[in-house]
Structure formats: structure tokens, C-alpha cells
Symmetry: C2
Subunit: 368 residues, 2 copies
């Protein structure tokens, strides 16, 4: 393989695709970027086996071919060569990188065993406004599970049906679900997409208004942003039905100024930040919520004015979960709806009900 | 103790003094901030046994007294209360923090055993332009040792004599020394001040033009910036005499464009970043330096145009040390002066010779 290209183009491309390189793996190829030279350009590809990112750039191709370069070394190196023209000349197990009067050689691996990336994904598709897709991803993926104990919970359920899209994430302690508008779709869709994939897609979305298409076929997803193509395998298995866990009726409704509640919870969280669960208590009675926390550092009790409709309630929760939820809501006031101290409660905007967060309380010896 | 003060004042003060709190210690008092209420204000003090920071703010004092509060918890808590008036009311082993309609209680410790901070430091003094002090600190402290194997090397030597100030730092592998102007001094001074103290002082220096006074007395140093007083114990012992290790003559002189050398070294360093020593080689001959590095990832060879005066030389070094040194130099061109591949070499500006970096080469099997 031998090609000549502009440093700026190559740098832009490697920095995009390197995000799909595996970080901790025993398979060296998963840490590589594959460079394929053909016709009038080169295609860079990286994959960790789940997500793949691919980008094509213009290049003068003197000799077609494919090689695999160590992803992070190559991208860090190339990003320091933005201003110059670069020649990549590979033979056997080494590639010469020639720029200005200099020459660097990198060890490379054969591209033969590099995973095949299927970009022929076209069966179903949904088109959204780019802004709407960004909002849907930001509203949900932070509630996905971070560990591997139940892999499907590391994904976000996406359901397209009846002209709308629903995204749901849960980690066993909390759930996020949001509804959005679509521009068009080929039909009903129901998939579970890795949160990591969605977060990488979100980072690539252009800031200007426009549309983004998500294509799906046989357990795979593809999104193309400018010339960058992201594909990802989807999770198989049954996702929890949110209808089964979101209570249909509530006993206590609270409407409260988001900013006041947020800062009170943040102060309460400081005292318990070294405790498992980071436990805070909400004591809800007519006209107010009393937020309290208690640890060997000290204890806090702050009343926050609130409109309370229904029965008084004392309920304990992880401060992080409620903080995350109210931070993600957009209106000035939020509504919290409860049944009792053991059933999950929900946090919503007062007006726009397209986003809902459900949080499981913590049972304590005091309120169990 | 009972006082009332403004949240904004208290927040500003705790965020300044908390920087002197110890981070890892078995002595709880070293993680505390002492609050002393007297007359018309409160004084906050923190110390890790080496550095102390003290700040006085206005307060209505209803009951004089002294208490110690957990430093980081208290500062994180108070910084979330900037907008309100705060009452601190301490009795026995607890302090009530009263704000708006809320009350938080923190466990406190008796101030009896809190280290006494001597701020009566006045014997000797040197006055510098604030900008000059900032430059001197930034030019040297990064070369201080980070580990405890030779404690005095964690400090920076400050020598005031003959109307000028000299600061020198070294870690066993490299040395930084810089000369500056003073406005006045009470006489000759020679101390070794912990790098951490100098760095904290540097962060506090105001950005406007002005003067800063460093006061010294019996192994202690004091700097007062606005209403914040930093004191620090100094290191005892003999500091290495730089005259003994900086070569007086050189065989090879190289003048080179700083930016070109810097980017070449940065690229060379990428290939060896996982290697101990992060070894790069400079091959100096007429008209150029050839920078090279070599690891299992690959190898690099980049010529950089240079004005070379003297004998050809091939010399190996830690890429970080030379990177740090040339980054700290301010002119567009730098001069490197060498004797041979085992003796230390120096990096300087071409014109302003007030800063000098000395670096010990690495002996390799190739060039030993």
C-alpha cells in the first residue's frame, strides 16, 4: 500500500475513528485502525467488536492495499502532523510515514484478520431532526447500567411506532424514558442499542439544524454523520417493559422549584458522599419538603417550599439518582409523584411530560 | 463561639485556606480548618504542618471562641451557600450552620491541639514585582523532586544577594536556575522553600501589576497577598551548589527554532511513551539535529535545521526533561550547549540568559 494525503484530512479522520478502538483487550487488532487504500482514497476503520467507526478521505493511491496500524499511537502521532503532506508506504510488517524531510516507521499488522464491518445496513430506518436525536440520547443514556452484570441494561431501548420514538434506559435502580418526534420511518422498530454507541453518535452530531437517519438491519445499526459511518451491534434479549414498573397512580404529588431542590440536595449529599448509597431523606408535608442527611461528619435539615397534594411521606433515596434526574429536566419547576416509601417514584417536568425519570427509594431501618 | 457573616465572604475564605489542608494524614486536625472568632471578625486557618494559609473576614461576633471543622466537607458545603447570610454557632463537639430557614450540624474538634501558626515573621524580607515573582516560580518549581527520597530536593533554593534574586531547583536528573530583579531587600538571604508553598503562592498572586514581599525569619517564610497570609517552614540542610554541576565551557553549541524542535520531540516521544526513561536521541552534525526514537511500536528519524558550532555529537535523553525545558523558555530560538554524551547539557534562550536548564543525558549501550 502506498498513498499520499493531507495531514489535516488524515488527522481529522484518525481522531474520529480511534474512538472505536478497544482500550483494554487481549486482541491487538481491536486496538488498531485499519487503513484501506482503493481508487481515489483511503478508508480508516476501527472497531472494538461492538461499535465500529469508519471514515473515508481523499488520497492519491499509488498502490492499493490494506494494513492495520496501532490505533492510539498512530492517531496521537498524526495529530501532530496537521500542516504537512503525508505519505504512507507499507510493506510486510512495517509502514513508513513520510512527511517533510522525515520518516517514521511503525510496526503494522496484517488486515486479513481484521473484523469484517458490514455497512450494508438498510432494511429499516428512522429519520429524526438532529436536535431531537441529541435530546433523546442526553435524556436517557446516563441511566444505563455501567457494569456487565446484566449486559442488556448497558443499552438503551429504542421503539419507533405510530409516528413517534421512545427511548428507555434503566440500571436496576432508576429508569429514564423519553418520547420524541420523528420525521419518517420505514415502519415499527424495536431495538436495544449500546449506550456507548449512542454517546459516540451524539458527540459526532453536527451542531447545525438538519436530519439524521438511523438505519437498522438484523441486529445492527448504522448512522452516517457527514462522511463518518458508525455501525454497532445491538443487544438481543427482552428489555424490561416500562409499563410494568411505572406506577399508574400516585398518592402524593409535589411541585417544587428545581433550582432550590437541586442546591439543597447537593448540600445534603456533601455530608454523605463517603457513604454507600449517598442516602438523603425527603420528608414531605403540606407546603414543603424537608431534605435531610446524616453521617459521622454531621447532619443537615433544609426545608424547601413546595406545593404538596396528597398524603405526607418520608422517603429515603440515593442523592445521586435524584440529582441526575432533576438536572436532566428542563423546566424551572419539577413534579415528584410518590406512592409510599418503598415503591418507585417519578420526577417529571410540570408541563412537558415527554421525559420521565423513575427512581427506586432506599429502604432504611427508619422507614421500612 | 457564635458569629454571623456573609456566605460570599466565608466561601471565598474557606476556598483559599482549604488548599493548606493535608490530604492524606492520620492526624484529623491537619484536615481541619480552624475558625477563630475575636473582636469584629473571624480568622480561618489551615495547615498540613509545612504550609499554612490564614485569612480573616468580617463577621458579627456574638461569642468569641475557636473551633476546628472538617476542612474539605466544610469548604464544599459553604461554597454552595454563597448568596445567604450564615450563622455559625458552636458548642461542645458540634457546630450549627444556620442559613435561610435551614440548619446543618457538623462534628467539630477542639482547637486546643491545632498547631500554633507563627505569623510573627519579620526578620528579613525581599520585595519583588509580582510579575517577576510569578516568572521565577514558573521557571523553576517544575524541576523540583516529587518524591521524598531526598526531601531538600522538594524545595527551591532562593538566594538574594547583590541586588538580585536567584532561584534554583533540581531533582537529580535536571536543574533549573533563574535570576531576577528585586525591588529591595533587608540584606542577603539564602533559603530552601518547599515547591508546594511557592506554587500555592503563585496561584494567589493578583494579576495586576504590583509588588509582593517575602518575609523570612528562623526557618519560616511568610507572604501576604491581599488578606491571605501564607506561611511555610523552610528546608534545612545544604543545597547542591549549582556552580559545581553547571559546566563552565562547552564543545558543541546548537541554536534551533524552538517550535520545530518541540514538535519533533513530541512526535518522537509518542513512540517511546510506555518505555522507562522515554528515551530519544539527538544526533547533532553540521546544519541539523536528527531526532530519533525507537520502540516496539516503531522508530522515528526527523532532521531539524539548526545552527551547529563545534563537534558532532550523538546524545540520548529523557524526552520529558528536554520538552519541559524548552517549553519553559520564552524566545523563538533556543540554544543547547553540550560537551559529550555523558556530561550534562544546558538549554537556554538565545538572548535572555537569565534562565538556564541543565539536563543529565541517559547513558545507553549505543553511546556509552
Amino acid at each position: 500500500m502506498k498513498i499520499v494525503c493531507e495531514g489535516l484530512d488524515l488527522s481529522d479522520a484518525v481522531l474520529k475513528v480511534v474512538k472505536a478502538c478497544a482500550t483494554r483487550t487481549t486482541i491487538p487488532l481491536m486496538e488498531c485502525i485499519k487503513i484501506s487504500a482503493k481508487n481515489d482514497g483511503i478508508t480508516l476503520t476501527a472497531t472494538d467488536g461492538e461499535i465500529s467507526i469508519q471514515k473515508k478521505i481523499k488520497a492519491e493511491v499509488y498502490e492499493e492495499g490494506e494494513v492495520c496500524v496501532p490505533g492510539r499511537y498512530f492517531s496521537d502521532f498524526i495529530k501532530k502532523l496537521e500542516g504537512v503532506q503525508i505519505t504512507l508506504d507499507a510493506e510486510d510488517n512495517r509502514m513508513n510515514i513520510i512527511y517533510a524531510d522525515s520518516e517514521t516507521t511503525m510496526q503494522i499488522l496484517s488486515a486479513e484478520d481484521f473484523p469484517k464491518i458490514d455497512t450494508d445496513i438498510n432494511e429499516n430506518s428512522v429519520v429524526l431532526e438532529t436536535e431531537e436525536l441529541r435530546r433523546l440520547i442526553n435524556a436517557t443514556t446516563f441511566c444505563c447500567a455501567g457494569d456487565d452484570s446484566r449486559p442488556i441494561l448497558k443499552g438503551c431501548q429504542i421503539v419507533v411506532s405510530g409516528g413517534e420514538i421512545n427511548m428507555t434506559a434503566l440500571d436496576g435502580f432508576r429508569l429514564a424514558t423519553t418520547k420524541g418526534k420523528i420525521i419518517s420511518s420505514t415502519g415499527d422498530i424495536e431495538i436495544v442499542c449500546p449506550a456507548r454507541t449512542l454517546n459516540e453518535i451524539e458527540k459526532m452530531l453536527p451542531s447545525d439544524k438538519g436530519e439524521t437517519e438511523i438505519k437498522i438491519q438484523k441486529g445492527n445499526l448504522l448512522v452516517c454523520v457527514d462522511d463518518t459511518t458508525v455501525t454497532s451491534s445491538l443487544y438481543n434479549g427482552d428489555f424490561i417493559k416500562k409499563e410494568n414498573i411505572i406506577p399508574k397512580s400516585f398518592i402524593t404529588y409535589v411541585t417544587v422549584d428545581k433550582k432550590a431542590l437541586k442546591s439543597s440536595i447537593e448540600r445534603a449529599a456533601i455530608l454523605v458522599r463517603n457513604d454507600k448509597n449517598s442516602l438523603i431523606i425527603l420528608d414531605i408535608s403540606q407546603g414543603k419538603i424537608e431534605i435531610s442527611s446524616n453521617s459521622e461528619i454531621g447532619n443537615l435539615c433544609e426545608p424547601v417550599k413546595a406545593e404538596v397534594d396528597g398524603k405526607d411521606l418520608k422517603i429515603a433515596m440515593n442523592s445521586k439518582f435524584i440529582s441526575d434526574a432533576i438536572n436532566a429536566l428542563e423546566e424551572d419547576d419539577v413534579t415528584l409523584s410518590f406512592n409510599n416509601q418503598v415503591q418507585p417514584f417519578i420526577c417529571e417536568n410540570v408541563i412537558d411530560k415527554n421525559v420521565l425519570y423513575l427512581i427506586l427509594p432506599v429502604r432504611t431501618s427508619n422507614n421500612a
